[in-house]
Amino acid sequence: MGPWIALVVGGLWAAGIFLLLRRSLVKAVLGLALLGYATNLLLVAAAGTARRAAPIVPPGADALPPGAADPVPQALVLTAIVIGLGVQAFVLVLLKRAHAETGSDDLDRLEGKDP
């Protein structure tokens, strides 16, 4: 499982960077989203990819049973997803403003250069 996840993360990063390098702002937004998903996947994978029990302390015990999953990366990923949502919303509004200003999604046109 581990190597496959590494490949998927690497592939998503490559695709994201490729989109960021385009001049079109829409593609840049999509690229940023892909990078965010790839990174969330990496965070989950960092805790191990084997199937494990839910991290709930059973009644009467005072520690997790052996083999329970690590809840920390899942909390991190939740935080990262929420932050990503807010950031993407902002970028979309910025994109809309830029489009209203120039009628195009080309960054060069916004900077006053001829395309």
């Binding site: 960021l20 702002l25 840049a28 940023l32 990078l35 965010g36 990174t39 990496l42 965070l43 994978a45 960092a46 805790a47 920390v72 990366p73 991190l76 935080t79 990262a80 932050i83 807010g86 950031v87 902002f90 970028v91 910025l94 403003r97 830029a98 200003e101 120039t102 960054l107 916004l110 900077e111 006053g112």
Partner: protein, 501 residues
């Protein structure tokens, strides 16, 4: 409780300021009071830490490697105080020079959230929490940068947003990898566990990801291209605040994590950092020489001066770290002051293009004095702050035998002086050019008032005062640097006596 206060005060003020939406006067009062409160909290924290050592607050009462700790050592306290000074100056300048519509549409809440995020980043003792604070102040800075929505602002904002989001993603990747390697995100615990890591090369690889992430935030070579357009576009008080704080937070993160976590694991590539320092200094200053607008010159100098900070980090001796800390404080004060002066020039003359400016010394001598004092300090003329900070860095370079770096740093200082002289002779000294037909309206002097001159003058006085009391100020920086060079006190303060390495 004291270490959390610098976050709570601006955050509470931001909430109040949102509640006062639609009442600009109330928002303005809350903004100024909130930033003054941040400065007061920072000074109280600095006094407490200076007398009583490192302060730790464990939120929620969880013991340290499990909960999130707020840790205020001397470096954090100095920087939080600096954030208070910058915030108050920025708020003061905003009252004078940010136009009504911007002030009514979110300038104040964004400014306060930005300061809360910056203070949180300076104080947190947890790597993921550091990421969260980075996002908090980034979101606020996006709003401040784009607010107003003029064309150059949008173009600058898009570059800034894309580069900084890329950087944040890299930061998150590194945090995930470090968690996978060490099983913790608490900086003190990471410091202990990575020392025992079997493969320093692996730790070093993650360090490189962090260097890339924070290098983008700090605008070092070769990833500084986002900075000049985004610092040249927004209103002058916003540019002043950005130049004073934002790149500095990126550098703070490097300083903290490299000395606390990576250096004990033997995973700091000093040669690479020194090479980046030299390239940053040279490319930044050469970029500035080619510019013809005051703000763009200043923005390129911001890049160049980051190289001096990297030089301190790369040398890594206690004296070099002290020099870097002193330089950080010096550069924040001086550069944001120069941005305020450039804003005043723009308001008086309607432009900051050097070929259209002139004669300001004759008409605005006060502004000229403020500019001269600050520009001399940036160029490192004694007895101003820049001289002492550069002297400490150069001495550290000589002690370490890094003669090449000393030569580069000294040469860049000369070029900095050249750029400042260019602004002086073009904008202040030469006779005012005859206004073209279309410019008469824009160039009509009048609505200038004392506005930006007062906060700029106050910052200039601070620069002179700090320069004259360089002895105690440098002693404080040296104490802060000693805590970085030997992080065992930090680790013990967070993890308790059992955490001794």
């Amino acid at each position: 409780m004291l270490p959390v206060l610098p976050v709570l005060v601006p955050l509470a003020a931001a909430v109040l300021s949102l509640a006062a939406w639609g009442r600009p006067r109330a928002q303005r009062a809350i903004g100024v009071a909130g930033t003054a409160g941040l400065l007061a909290a920072g000074l109280a924290l600095l006094a407490r830490v200076s007398a009583g050592g490192i302060q730790v607050v464990r939120l929620g009462g969880w013991p340290s490697p499990f909960g999130i700790a707020f840790v205020a050592d001397l470096l954090s306290a100095i920087l939080v105080t600096l954030a208070g000074v910058m915030g108050l100056a920025g708020a003061w300048a905003s009252v004078a020079a940010v136009d009504g519509p911007r002030q009514a549409n979110g300038h104040w809440p964004a400014l306060l959230v930005l300061l809360a995020g910056v203070a949180g980043a300076f104080l947190t003792g947890d790597l993921f929490n550091l990421y969260v604070w980075f996002e908090v102040f980034l979101m606020a800075s996006f709003v401040l940068l784009a607010l107003g929505g003029t064309r150059p602002q949008l173009a600058g904002a898009i570059r800034y947003v894309v580069m900084n989001l890329l950087s944040s993603t890299l930061f998150l990747v590194a945090a995930g990898l470090l968690y996978g390697m060490a099983g913790t995100l608490d900086l003190a615990e990471l410091s202990l566990r990575l020392r025992a890591h079997p493969s320093p090369a692996l730790v070093s690889a993650v360090g490189m990801v962090l260097l890339a992430a924070w290098g983008i935030k700090a605008a070092i070579f070769p990833v500084f291209a986002w900075l000049p357009p985004s610092y040249a576009a927004p209103p002058a008080p916003v540019a002043a605040l950005f130049s004073g704080l934002l790149t500095k937070v990126g550098f703070y993160a490097m300083l903290r994590v490299f000395t606390l976590v990576l250096a004990p694991a033997g995973a700091v590539p000093r040669g690479l950092i020194l090479a980046l320092a030299a390239l940053t200094m040279v490319t930044g200053v050469l970029g500035a020489v080619a510019q013809g607008e005051i703000r763009r010159i200043l923005a390129f100098h911001s890049v160049s001066q980051m190289g001096y900070l990297l030089l301190g980090l790369g040398l890594g001796t206690p004296l070099a770290l002290a020099g870097a800390i002193a330089f950080l404080v010096h550069h924040s004060l001086v550069k944001s002051n120069l941005f305020l002066v450039s804003g005043a020039v723009e308001r008086i003359a309607g432009t900051d293009r050097l070929d259209r400016l002139g004669g300001l010394w004759a008409s605005r001598a006060g502004l000229g004095v403020v500019f001269l004092v600050t520009a001399f300090s940036l160029a490192g003329i004694p007895p101003l702050t820049g001289f002492w900070a550069k002297l400490a860095l150069l001495r550290a370079g000589v002690e370490a035998g890094a003669w090449g770096m000393v030569a580069v740093a000294a040469g860049v200082g000369v070029l900095t002086l050249f750029s400042m002289t260019k602004i002086w002779s073009e904008a202040f000294w030469k006779a005012a050019p005859a206004a073209g037909p279309g410019e008469a309206a824009a160039a009509a002097p009048g609505e200038t008032g004392p506005g930006l001159l007062l906060p700029a003058g106050a910052l200039a006085l601070l620069v002179v005062g700090l320069g004259l009391s360089a002895g105690p100020a440098l002693a404080l920086a040296e104490r802060a640097a000693a805590g970085l060079a030997d992080p065992s006190a930090y680790v013990r303060a967070v993890l308790g006596p059992g955490g001794a390495p």
